[in-house]
């Protein structure tokens, strides 16, 4: 019987670049920006790093394949560097690999870095990816907003929710994230918006308008992990440790079968159940103080609240409109602005989520600090609602 990851690995240091349209920075520059901050935060020398994992998703934009882009950019000291890729959940995979390596005793200190350079394509939205040979022969030339927008049509039908009401709740999700992002100097989008602005924005993919979609950003994030004993030996206090790490990957049941109703994310529900068990969380609405979820689109965040058990099925619309996930609400969500405003450099996003929880748990989040939280949850989703990779992590103070 697996004993789980709870309290076996601690965060030694973290760094995160400024996110946004970084016309000034190459992917290498972004990696260096995140890494140097993490290294300084950890208070170690590069030679102390035993292994590294590197997350980047888009082959087509030029960061490069394999582990070499990271090793070269950071001039790492002749260690193994492995590239991981799992759609938008790649950052969480890099974390998982580094954490497991430390937990296994394969190395004392491990590094995980995620980076994405999206703004060198010449057009808005995500880069057009190479689809392979079979898929383009039948599958629509689909884009992310329309893949996620489909949640809305199925959700409305399942719960009998008026299109206008759902649109308003979705707008509230974005208004909340913009209010949070305005307090984050590293965020891509730092301007508050109004519900009226959201509702009148041009449609990108029915029913999602411009403000229902997250930023397409350049950025990098880095985390250095070790065992709690080594962290303390290096002088660290108030350790933030991993309580749960779960990944669930679709096997076609949703996409090809006939049972899934399209209104929720199946993998998230399974991953949440396992993560709560691994972390010993029995009452998430009371015990999880804040969440960073994969709010690639407003509708995704809304249904994720139900998938995580933070709202009842069909109840997220009401909870969102009641402010349950606002900064001052029951379970603050995206306190750093989330994908929506901090930005979504794909390979980095899972690590960026961890970065915010790490700062919040250590009381270092500045203007957006939420009291004294002790437990936070990361939900990092790659792919699309119908077939995806869901990575969940729970982190908190050691002993929490």
């Amino acid at each position: 019987m697996a004993s789980g990851i709870k309290d076996k690995v601690a965060i030694l240091g973290m760094g995160c670049s400024r996110f946004g349209e970084r016309w000034d920075a190459s992917p290498e520059d972004l990696m260096v920006e995140a890494y140097t901050e993490a290294l300084a935060d950890a208070g170690i020398e590069p030679a102390q790093i035993g292994a590294a994992w590197f997350s980047t998703h888009m082959d087509d934009v030029g960061t490069g394949r394999g582990g070499t882009p990271l090793a070269i950019a950071l001039r790492l000291p002749d260690i193994g560097v492995t590239r991981v890729e799992n759609f938008c959940a790649g950052g969480s995979e890099a974390i998982r690999a580094a954490v497991y390596a430390v937990a296994a005793g394969a190395c004392d200190i491990a590094l995980a870095v995620g980076v994405e350079k999206l703004k060198d394509t010449g057009y808005g939205g995500l880069p057009v990816a190479s689809p392979g040979t079979l898929l383009p022969q039948w599958y629509p030339n689909a884009v992310a907003p329309a893949n996620f927008a489909q949640l809305a049509s199925a959700y409305r039908r399942k719960h009998g929710i008026d299109a206008g009401l759902l649109k308003r709740a979705m707008a509230h999700v974005s208004v909340k994230s913009h209010a949070n992002g305005a307090k984050n100097p590293k965020a891509h989008l730092q301007k508050p918006i109004t519900e009226a602005q959201v509702l009148k924005a041009p449609i990108v993919a029915e029913p999602l308008g411009l403000f229902d979609c997250c930023g397409v950003s350049d950025g990098a994030a880095a985390v250095i992990v070790t065992t709690p004993d080594i962290a303390r030996a290096l002088g660290k206090r108030d350790l933030v440790t991993f309580k749960a790490l779960q990944v669930v990957t679709s096997n076609g049941w949703e996409f090809q079968g006939s049972s899934w109703d399209g209104s929720y994310v199946h993998t998230t529900r399974i991953a949440a159940r396992r993560a709560y068990a691994e972390a010993g969380v029995e009452r998430p609405r009371e015990q999880i103080h804040l969440t960073e979820v994969h709010d690639c689109f407003s509708i995704t965040e809304l249904v994720t609240m139900e998938d995580l058990g933070l709202s009842d099925d069909g109840g997220a619309v009401r909870d969102v409109l009641d402010g349950a996930f606002d900064a001052e609400g029951r379970n603050p969500c995206q306190i750093d602005g989330g994908l929506k405003c901090f930005g979504h450099p794909i390979g980095a996003s899972g690590i960026r989520m961890l970065y915010e929880l790490y700062l919040q748990l250590q009381g270092r989040a500045g203007a957006r600090q939420l009291g004294e939280p002790t437990l936070g949850l990361i939900h990092n989703l790659g792919g699309q609602p119908s077939q995806n990779v869901c990575a969940l992590a729970i982190v908190g103070h050691q002993g929490a």
């Binding site: 394509t121 010449g122 057009y123 939205g125 057009v128 190479s130 040979t133 079979l134 383009p136 022969q137 039948w138 599958y139 629509p140 030339n141 689909a142 884009v143 907003p145 329309a146 893949n147 927008a149 489909q150 949640l151 809305a152 049509s153 199925a154 409305r156 039908r157 041009p202 449609i203 990108v204 993919a205 029915e206 999602l208 096997n251 076609g252 049941w253 996409f255 090809q256 079968g257 006939s258 109703d261 399209g262 119908s386």
Partner: protein, 495 residues
Amino acid sequence: MSSSFGIVGYGAYVPRLRLARAAVVAANRWYAPGLAGKAQGTRSMANWDEDPITMAVAAARDALGPTADRSAIRTLMLASTTLPFAVRLNAGVVAAALTLEESIEAIDIAGSQRAALSAVMDGLARVKSGVGEVLVLAADARKTRAASTQELDYGDGAAALRLGSQGVIAEIVGHGAVSVDFVDHFRQSGEDIDYAWEERWVRDEGVARLVPQAIGAALAQAGVAAAQIDHFIFPTSFAKMESQLAKACGIRESAVVDGLVDRIGETGVPHALLLLLAEVLARAEPGQHVLVSQFGSGAQALLLRVTDKVRDFRPQRGVAGWLARGVEERSYTKFLSFKRQLRLERGMRSEQDRKTALSTAWRHHRALLGLVAGRCRETGSVVFPPSRLSIDPGAPRLDTQEPHPLADRAARVLSWSAEYLSFNMSPPHHYGQIDFEGGGRILMDFTDLDVGEVDSGTAMEMVFRIKDFDELRSFTRYFWKATPARGEAAPQPQE
């Protein structure tokens, strides 16, 4: 001629879009004010994802209905002057889409406006030889010069005739042909658009002299007098030409069949001999004689006698059904863009390579062209594309899947969106997850619809369409799309 051979089924297809001629005339008034007299009515207009192959499939499905067993069809003939491929059997694509047996004969027939009639005569000979039933398909989607009379006169469409010896609804009792090199119009290989000679010469020296010869031969062969003709079909875009011919041949004026030119235009190869024939058969009475004639590199005429079984057959929609489905289109730039004569700004997203891996296409050809899923013989689970392992949760079965066609199954939208981000010839780009009755789910493109027309739960049906153009290598790839199963005569589910 034997009386036990002839037409046993028929079908048609007319694209949903109907271009208002007034819109074309108005857009070109500055340049071609002489077209003002043609500003009436509409012409049929293929959607961007339709071509003679896809329209032929639609007409065939109209004729065959949602039957899984099409093994009686032993020959497929596809007649058109606008076949998409010069090399690659166009009829082979159609046969695969229809899931016909792989052991059939499939033939492309081209070269003249009467290619469809030639195919019918050839097909009849095959039926008589005892090889089995023949499916004759005809389709055209002709390109014309902007601001030309042809642009206004022509239309796009397709028709299907099933020839056999069981359940004959119309016997073919006479036939006449004139094959001469009378060049009223031509198109050299590699060219897009026909070049036509003076209309008055074509009318007086061509149609008026050659067509009566073919008609006379057909009547003589059957021993039927011109006055006995109940329905006379001669498709033309020349005003009153059919009446003039009827008079010259001694056919009653009341027998002249309206050419539907006001509503759908003259559709070329299918129009002359099949589209109109399909319409006439829908209302003809047993014992009536139908004379079908066509002009092109000579002339051809077929004489049919309707049998008492004519009421035993009904196409899925028929010409009347397709006519009723039309929606008026007033955008001339949309027409030009769909005909690929006006290149609109597409954005950088359109620069994606659309190369088709032909080895991959062949490996999956039944799934891709026939929309055939795999059904686990043990659990009944259906999966598309088929796979070696079934999708049964926790206990996938190995190598248990059997072919399971989805194209004619009832289907519904599970979820959908319509987006303005990706390049699409007809934005917004609509797609969503479709659930099939009996199992199976596919995320697929939608076509022929407007935003707001579908939602989760809407009944849909499958249509075979162009998936993509590879402009770099000039290759069209095809797949199936979902379109709303609009009220009238929606196909019935199998079983």
